[in-house]
């Protein structure tokens, strides 16, 4: 399939419309997880194997789990899904219709302003000789610990202070 990347990006927008139309947060979390999976597959299709793995582990496996049980603590008795009320359903349908109309309209344009939106592009993979075992994105992320030593120290300190702030907020008073 030549247009798999474009189709996945359309599915990503539809998933984002799914939680932006504000159903009850447990359904919003479900839509965010589905969007995260689709986004991860987009990243994998462009050759970013390491970044897709980081996103799966840290984002979906870490932060969404925390969101899930925090939402379970603050949930109501009858959660509001996409079909249970005109506001959420209307927002969802308007968003989906907007995406379809926009994509069809942009594909029918013929002019080039700065970039031309009307072709979905080609993706050519360059493989140099002998570089098949080195994945570009893991090497680039590994440079974080080499050129970006101080950035790692600052980010680690920020996380530590963040945990302390969270404990102080939850303790209250």
């Amino acid at each position: 399939m030549a247009y798999v990347l474009f189709t996945l990006s359309v599915l990503l927008v539809m998933g984002f419309v799914g939680f932006s139309s504000k159903p009850s947060p447990i359904y919003g979390g479900l839509a965010l997880i589905v969007s995260g999976v689709v986004g991860c597959v987009i990243v994998l299709n462009c050759g970013g194997v390491y970044m897709g793995l980081v996103m799966f582990l840290v984002y979906l496996g870490g932060m969404m789990v925390v969101f899930g049980y925090t939402t379970a603590m603050a949930i109501e008795e009858y959660p509001e899904t996409w079909g249970s009320g005109l506001e959420v359903l209307g927002g969802l349908l308007v968003g989906l219709m907007m995406e379809v109309v926009l994509v069809l309209w942009v594909l029918s344009l013929d002019e080039t302003v700065v970039v031309s939106f009307s072709d979905t592009g080609d993706w050519v993979i360059f493989e140099g000789e002998g570089s098949g075992l080195i994945r570009g994105d893991s090497i680039g992320a590994g440079a974080l610990y080499d050129y970006g030593r101080w950035l790692v120290v600052v980010a680690g300190w920020t996380l530590f202070v963040g945990v302390y702030i969270v404990i102080e907020i939850v303790r209250g008073n």
């Binding site: 927008v13 984002f16 947060p25 980081v54 870490g62 570009g136 939850v170």
Partner: protein, 98 residues
């Protein structure tokens, strides 16, 4: 490829609009904030792969680190609101009575 970029920027804008409008829950806006961070991550990773410039890959990882911090602080605020009022309804937040 540019149409894919347009879709990802559109996803960011849709999440932004979702975050700025309140319905009843506060945690739904936090979810839209997460969506914004995810779309930025995807966009930066695609640019790093398309331009064959692997050093840009540092930026999405650091973005993920700080987005995790922000999520943690947002959820802590949510928990303290939920401890005071029972649920995280937005119309409970009426200390500032204008």
């Amino acid at each position: 490829m540019t149409l894919t970029y347009m879709n990802i920027m559109l996803a960011f804008t849709i999440s932004l609009l979702g975050m700025l409008t309140y319905r009843s829950h506060l945690v739904a806006s936090l979810l839209c904030l997460e969506g914004m961070m995810m779309s930025l991550f995807i966009m930066a990773t695609l640019i790093a792969s398309n331009m064959h410039f692997p050093l840009i890959n540092i930026m999405p990882i650091i973005l993920l680190v700080f987005a995790a911090c922000e999520t943690a602080v947002g959820l802590a605020l949510l928990i303290s609101i939920s401890n005071t009022y029972g649920l995280d309804y937005v119309h409970n937040l009426n200390l500032l009575q204008c």
